[in-house]
Subunit: 138 residues, 2 copies
Amino acid sequence: VTKDPHVSQSETYQIGEVADRVGLSLRTVRYYEEVGLVTPSDRTPGGFRLYTDDDIARLELAKHLKPLGFSLDEMRDLLDLQMRLRDPDTDIADEDRERLEEYAEDARRRCGQLRTQLRAAERLARQLEADLAGSADS
Amino acid sequence: VTKDPHVSQSETYQIGEVADRVGLSLRTVRYYEEVGLVTPSDRTPGGFRLYTDDDIARLELAKHLKPLGFSLDEMRDLLDLQMRLRDPDTDIADEDRERLEEYAEDARRRCGQLRTQLRAAERLARQLEADLAGSADS
DNA sequence: GGAACGGTGACGTTGCGTAAGTGTGC
DNA sequence: CGCACACTTACGCAACGTCACCGTTC
């Protein structure tokens, strides 16, 4: 079982460039590895983390899931499940599939809540500006 | 300077009812007092916190500002400034007014970011559901 | 070889959750 | 006087920020 030919070992990136591109701090990216959320695929002989495009994609997914209020543990679970679902070689257990569907439903719910909060916040911001405009000394 | 007649001392509420109505935990409401964000206007002789409608309004403002990612210190500052702006008796210093305008602008910015994050999260949620639907075993 | 970049501790901070034991309101 | 409700104190936790000090890359 050698490397698949279509999985050509694409470029890898060091943590600095990765953090910049994804928009996370170095600390956060390292912490995500510590908790097993995103593990770099490789290291240099000297110990520098090397991230593939897939690793970066996973970081971006994590970044976009965060506003929904999932814990890092939940996100690790969710992303692992999703990877297994997408991989055509492993067929996913019914139990796993079920849990993934719960996550999807949960994500939906949280999107709705976030949307509600956003509307409230926007009203508040407008109100604040209105107060400022209304109390303008001539 | 006695009590204004139109500021009739309206009803007060204990922390339990307040927390329920606003949708915050007891711990959170107490913590907000600890950091000076929302201080109950009164106490019973025995030490029970008593909140007025204004106190509750302030709690609700805090709750709606939180999703924008302000720190509790910032929110305290912001809400204090807004109170001084609305109070017709005190006229606000130029410096304070300026800071309040910065907060308003900041709030706007954060609303925009939150909106962007929400859209990304919604795309992600739909993608997740699409993956699930796409891998349905017949 | 030296400037930019990265590594691993380790401690600090924010915003609460969660008891534990005691007092208050009615 | 009992029972829900509240109070303080304290420790715990997640998700990082922030040094400090040392190694790596090119």
